[in-house]
């Protein structure tokens, strides 16, 4: 059988409940925005193959439930991840404060040197923004490899571009720095 891909990357998506992890991944993996979203229970699995500079990159993404009670099951998936995407909601300060806790979880459960990506979601709701971009930059400046990436959940405003485009851009700019590269 012919090889279906050149590289395989295993990613993990974490963050508070309701920040839009699933929307993000659905939009990324299926290239559409699912308006009738539903809460994730435990873990979910999504797949997408992208073409980057002529190479077929296969992405396996574990989408997790954000509620604390599910941590027992979700932390089991940190170890195998090559990249972890931390998501917060720019209209919800608490979800941004909790990024610290999610970082701690990574430290405790993931492989050393795992790539991390910080992502502020729901940029289409600029009017309700509570977390400024500078705040995020400042708080996580020590994490040189982190990239702050804005991605709107819905097809409006900033969110017009599907996240996959954004991720690819960031990948090109930051080869060797981003988990996707």
């Amino acid at each position: 059988m012919a090889k279906a891909y050149d590289h395989l990357f295993k990613l993990l998506l974490i963050g508070d409940s309701g920040v839009g992890k699933t929307c993000l991944i659905i939009r990324f993996a299926e290239d559409n925005f699912n308006n009738t979203y539903i809460s994730t229970i435990g873990i979910d699995f999504k797949i997408r193959t992208v073409d980057i500079e002529g190479k077929k990159i296969k992405l396996q993404v574990w989408d997790t439930a954000g509620q604390e009670r599910f941590k027992t099951i979700t932390t089991a998936y940190y170890r195998g991840a090559m990249g972890i995407i931390l998501v917060y909601d720019i209209t919800d300060e608490k979800s941004f404060e909790n990024i610290q806790n999610w970082m701690k979880s990574i430290k405790e459960n993931a492989s050393a040197g795992v790539e991390r990506l910080l992502l502020g979601n729901k940029c289409d709701m600029e009017a309700k923004r509570k977390v400024q971009k500078e705040q995020a930059d400042k708080a996580f400046s020590s994490l040189a490899r982190d990239i702050l990436l804005k991605s709107g959940g819905r097809r409006s405003g900033n969110g017009n571009k599907p996240p996959s485009t954004d991720l690819k851009t960031c990948d090109k700019k930051n080869t060797n720095k981003c988990s996707l590269g």
Binding site: S17, I38, I41, F45, I47, A65, R69
Partner: protein
């Protein structure tokens, strides 16, 4: 001696006298002071009423509530005057025997037959009373038997209330019980619902609040503000009354079958598209309270699914793996070969009782049976999951890599399923259950 006998009787008796009053001992949250007040008031009424005819109606109400207590009093008097102290023992033995006989013979024998077994015995008041208890338990057994293969839509609301244990089998007590339980629920709301914005409940309420719009988002009924408010109240009250688990995502799904079934009592047409503003306040309140209590009964049996680290789910997923390894080695080895773990797909099956895998109408049909089975939600569900998995064996064996398997298992095509498919699934689950109940080591590898 007599005291000892009566102690035994108390232990074995299924119903306690005066059972109408709720017991709040050591419960969370603490005793509702308003209810205590009523309780004390009613108690004091008992003593004073015989003197005051004015309060006759409330006395009658009370007397009706506690009629079983008076019965027992009569019994005791007879026992003491009885020449032989063994009456109580023999009475218990008779009642038990009647029940056992009845249980064993119900497949072959008509109800009259086992009744005559009881009345063959030298009849006295107690034996007759026992047989009426037996009658009640026979009726519930009969109801379970009839409900197992599916309950007709028109009688489903009352049947579910009975099967869940929310409504007493005794017809005379039903109306009052319903009334009291509904009042009790709205007492909780009055007392606790305002606390949802207090700091220690903030996380709970926030989680519920963001999950409600995500509950069955494709069914218009659940997008109505009035319905969403009802769900918030039900879930919040349940959560703060069960601090060991609290609210866990997925529990929101478990309210929906009850809500739809109790709503169907008032709706002829398509329930899923019904506009609830057409219902009166009273109707909505009844639906809300009944959904709350039935959901509570269900969750009582599976609470370890939702406590810290979710041990109930971990245990059941392990049991599922063990079961599948014995009934379908090929599928099991296929999973191992491609490194698929049961937890990766079956966690949700347990956490949401397959509700995410099946259309709502199928879940409702499934619950007819779960409520008719002993430990349906906590134990029989495991066999249903095994049968459900094996149902897709061909599709599973056709997939030849990890991701294909996982994508399949996460999105099993059940969208067109109806009663027939659920009926077959349940039959297979039943077969599995009996195969393993009688031979735990069956197919041991």
């Amino acid at each position: 001696m007599a005291a000892e006998n009566s102690k035994q009787f108390w232990k074995r008796s299924a119903k306690l006298p005066g059972s109408i009053q709720p017991v709040y001992g050591a419960q969370h949250p603490p005793l509702d002071p308003r209810l205590t007040k009523n309780f004390i008031k009613e108690r004091s009424k008992v003593n004073t009423v015989p003197l005051k005819n004015k309060k006759a109606s409330s006395f009658h109400e009370f007397a009706r509530n506690t009629s079983d207590a008076w019965d027992i009093g009569d019994d005791e008097e007879e026992d003491f005057s009885s020449p032989s102290f063994q009456t109580l023992n023999s009475k218990v033995a008779l009642a038990t025997a009647a029940q056992v006989l009845e249980n064993h013979s119900k497949l072959r024998v008509k109800p009259e037959r086992s009744q005559s077994t009881t009345s063959d015995v030298p009849a006295n008041y107690k034996v007759i009373k026992s047989s009426s208890d037996a009658q009640l338990s026979r009726n519930s057994n009969e109801l379970r038997k009839c409900s197992w293969p599916g309950v007709p839509r028109e009688v489903r609301p009352i049947t579910w209330r009975l099967l869940s244990g929310y409504l007493p089998a005794n017809t005379e007590r039903r109306k009052l019980t319903l009334q009291r339980k509904r009042e009790e629920y709205f007492g909780f709301i009055e007392q606790y619902y305002d606390s949802r914005n207090e700091e220690h409940h903030q996380d709970t309420y926030r989680q519920i609040h963001i999950d409600i719009p995500r509950t069955n988002p494709l069914i218009p009924l659940f997008q109505q503000p009035l319905v969403q408010e009802i769900f918030e109240r039900i879930l919040f009250i349940w959560a703060i009354r069960h601090p060991a688990s609290g609210y866990v995502q997925g529990i929101n799904d478990l309210v929906t079958p009850f809500f739809v079934v109790f709503l169907s009592e008032y709706v002829e047409e398509d329930v899923e598209n019904f506009d609830v503003t057409n219902l009166s306040q009273d109707m909505l309140r009844s639906i809300e309270a009944d959904s709350f209590w039935c959901m509570s009964k269900l969750l009582d049996g599976i609470q370890d699914n939702y406590t810290f680290a979710q041990p109930g789910i971990q245990k059941k997923v392990k049991a599922l793996e063990e079961l599948v390894s014995r009934i379908d080695e090929q599928v099991h080895n296929h999973f191992r070969r491609y490194e698929v773990e049961y937890l990766q797909f079956a966690f949700r099956w347990m956490n949401n009782l397959l509700m995410r895998e099946l259309p709502l109408r199928c879940t409702i049909r499934l619950w007819d049976t779960y409520q008719s089975e002993p430990e349906g939600f906590s134990h029989f569900h495991l066999y249903v999951c095994a049968a459900f998995l094996i149902k897709w064996r061909k599709e599973i064996l056709d997939e030849e890599d990890f991701q294909g398997l996982l994508m399949l298992l996460q999105n099993l095509p059940t969208i067109h399923w109806g009663n027939e498919e659920i009926g077959l699934l349940l039959a297979e689950a039943y077969r599995l259950k009996y195969m393993f109940a009688d031979a735990p080591n069956h197919y041991r590898r």
